[in-house]
């Protein structure tokens, strides 16, 4: 067990993945000597060389598009998109090529590409540096979407994402990058599949009254809300995988509590919460004692940072929602 922040945990996970498989290469802007603007790849170029950790020209479509070719050649590219708001120039290559190539080829080729994207707000950044675009990718067939909530999960799931033969969009909650946690580095020595299944949700705190489904940056927020909520007992479910979503774990929690609040930073309309509300609303029509309630960002462009706190769900809004569904 070591205490690491999430940056260091992902760094350690990347290192393990590179040690395990020589076909794993890292590719992105400023990830070499600089170690990435968040230092997630710090030291890896030095240790693995310039052919395993490559600084890319400043062009996201180029980065993703060449990764497709690298995958066709048998490589396992791990890409870094510098910030959430800069993934869009690569969107075409992601949705029309990365996501569809395996299906297009009737299975003859796989696309084991991991696209790491620091995402979300709360760090006082300028425009394009605080977005939560996960719904675009979760709506795209052929992709998987993962997001870790703490250093231990990050350490494990980044390795599992890389080992997965499907393309994985890996969203890193940047405002939690510097949160520390215990990481058991020994856990993964042998079999990536033997440890926790990355496609399963995790009940990170048990409770009896209301299930709170959340992921990435909002897990800590919801845990704090659960801690602070005196009247209502919250069960916090960290979805971890946004595509596919583990409805088994989430559903069994809802069956127990009969109430669900979904929390995310992304705008409400068409967000991950919509799909969850639709699914849970359908499957647990009679079990639910209150409508599925969403606590999310608003349907506006991410605001100027001095008012971002009003955009982002916080402890109070989560508790308020839990109380509302209890009162319903």
């Amino acid at each position: 067990m070591t205490t690491l922040n999430m940056v260091k945990a992902i760094n350690a996970g990347l290192r393990k993945a590179m040690e395990r498989d020589p076909k794993v290469i890292l590719f992105g802007e400023d990830i070499g000597r600089l170690g990435g603007v968040f230092r997630v790849t710090d030291g890896l170029q030095k240790d693995f060389g310039e052919h395993r950790v490559l600084d890319a020209p400043l062009a996201e479509s180029g980065i993703v598009g060449t990764a497709v070719g690298l995958a066709m050649r048998g490589y396992r590219p791990v890409l870094e998109i510098q910030f959430d708001g800069f993934v869009y120039p690569g969107f075409d290559q992601i949705v029309s090529q990365v996501a569809k190539f395996h299906r297009r080829m009737d299975g003859a080729l796989a696309m084991p590409i991991t696209i790491r994207i620091p995402y979300g707000g709360g760090i006082g950044a300028v425009e394009h540096h605080s977005e939560s675009p996960e719904a675009y990718f979760a709506h795209t067939a052929g992709l998987r979407v993962l997001t870790p909530a703490d250093p231990q999960a990050a350490y494990l799931t980044i390795q599992q994402a890389i080992a997965c033969n499907d393309p994985v969009i890996y969203f890193e909650p940047k405002r939690r990058y510097w949160d520390k946690g215990e990481v058991d580095e020994s856990q993964l020595a042998l079999d990536l599949k033997a440890v926790a299944d990355p496609w399963r949700a995790r009940i990170v705190r048990s409770g009896t009254d209301v299930t709170v489904a959340c992921y990435g940056p909002m897990v800590r927020t919801c845990l704090e809300a659960a801690q602070a909520s005196t009247d209502v007992s919250l069960e916090v479910v960290d979805l971890q995988s946004l595509s596919p979503i583990d409805y088994e774990t989430l559903g069994s929690s809802v069956e127990r509590t009969s109430r669900l609040v979904v929390v995310h930073e992304a705008p409400m309309s068409g967000g991950i919460g919509a799909e969850i509300a639709a699914r849970i609303g359908e499957k647990y029509f009679y079990a639910l004692e209150a409508p599925v309630t969403r606590i999310t960002g608003f349907d506006v462009p991410y605001p100027a940072s001095r008012i971002e706190e009003y955009f982002l769900p916080d402890l109070d809004r989560v508790i308020d929602a839990a109380e509302r569904v209890m009162r319903f």
Partner: protein, 359 residues
């Protein structure tokens, strides 16, 4: 338009005259010469047959390569077996040379697959539709070759229209930056659907390369010998670690953009006439005859081979049955995926409800 080609590498005039070029030359055995002729004739035959099959409703669409046979066959026959081609939807000459079965070329356009063959077997990617996308794939593949320390080369195909796309220009940047072993093979067939070449660029296409830091060369795309010679040099350059080359094959799309297109809306008939005089197959035929490399009986034999091939395609195309409905859930993911299982079951259950009703 002939004037524009001044400077384009040519080894065989439209009249079938062998001419020399200060930098490029080619020496082929008689069998190789005949092989190029055969390739072009058979590709044209497949192309014509497919166009006919589309008219008969057997294919949803077809994008004819009529007129571009020399550019495609010349470049693809220059490739080594391990080199990898990244074609667009019009490169039937390329897929033919990579050993893709004619029926497999039709799979996508018959709507029975979105691919059609195993890229690893043929070392040839699928027919790429999103303009420019596959050019980046070729560069990435070439980067992988480089990391492997191997000597393969990626050949990426695209059209004059594609020169406008960001992806193609980014591909130039990445290839130059990594000095990747890739050949950019642009068939300038003068048209991007209805848009003439000068909508995308007001200077010659091959000139784009210099500004990215690698050589560009223009070749008479209807001259299979020149195309082969120029491609060989570019492949060699890439193979020996000297990076990318842009080849502009100056040619002409003699048919419609696709079978859905009506080119009379945007181009003059006279243009086609001019280009008929530069037909890539005819000029090689004249040359082979004059040189005594092949005679009428050989040409007749290829003609007949073409007839047989066309007949086989006609017969077999109807046998290309659609995949099962539930196959749409296969290979979406390479690893188990709950949602696929769930939706497949739902579909099968729904479909079986009809059987029950019928039975």
């Amino acid at each position: 338009m002939v004037d524009e080609r001044v400077g384009a590498v040519q080894l065989l005039t439209p009249e079938g005259q062998r001419v020399s070029h200060p930098e490029y030359d080619i020496n082929l055995s008689d069998a190789e010469f005949r092989g190029l002729y055969r390739d072009m004739v058979l590709v044209r035959r497949i192309d014509t047959e497919a166009t006919a099959l589309q008219r008969q409703g057997e294919l949803g669409l077809w994008a004819p390569c009529l007129g571009q046979e020399a550019a495609q066959v010349g470049s693809a026959r220059a490739m080594a077996p391990n080199d990898f081609a990244f074609p667009t939807f019009r490169e039937h000459g390329v897929t033919w040379c990579r050993g893709v079965a004619p029926l497999d070329m039709l799979a996508m356009l018959r709507g029975v697959s979105n691919g059609g063959w195993d890229p690893n077997v043929h070392r040839c990617g699928p027919y790429s539709i999103v303009i420019g996308a596959q050019v980046l794939h070729g560069v990435g593949y070439a980067m992988g070759v480089q990391f492997d320390g191997a000597e393969d080369v990626a050949v990426t195909y695209f059209g004059d229209g594609a020169m406008a796309q960001g992806d193609v220009n980014e591909a130039f940047v990445f290839a130059a930056s990594f000095s990747a072993p890739v050949v950019f093979f642009c068939q300038n067939n003068q048209w991007a659907i209805s848009q003439p070449r000068d909508r995308q660029s007001n200077i010659q296409i091959y000139e784009r390369a210099a500004g990215f830091g690698f050589p560009g060369v223009q070749v008479d795309g209807n001259d299979v010998l020149a195309v082969m010679a120029v491609t060989r040099v570019a492949l060699d350059r890439a193979r020996t670690g000297n990076g990318p080359t842009l080849i502009e094959a100056f040619t002409y799309r003699m048919g419609a953009h696709t079978t859905s297109d009506d080119p009379t809306r945007y181009r003059l008939a006279g243009e086609l006439e001019t280009w008929r005089l530069r037909d890539p197959i005819q000029r090689l035929q004249v040359y082979l005859s004059r040189q005594g490399i092949a005679d009428r009986s050989y040409f007749d034999q290829i003609e007949q081979e073409g007839d047989e091939l066309a007949e086989r395609i006609r017969d077999d195309v109807r046998a290309m049955v659609p995949p099962t409905p539930e196959s749409m859930f296969e290979h979406v993911y390479a690893e188990p995926h709950a949602r696929m299982d769930e939706q497949r079951s739902e579909m099968l259950e729904y479909l079986s409800s009809f059987e029950d009703a019928a039975g």
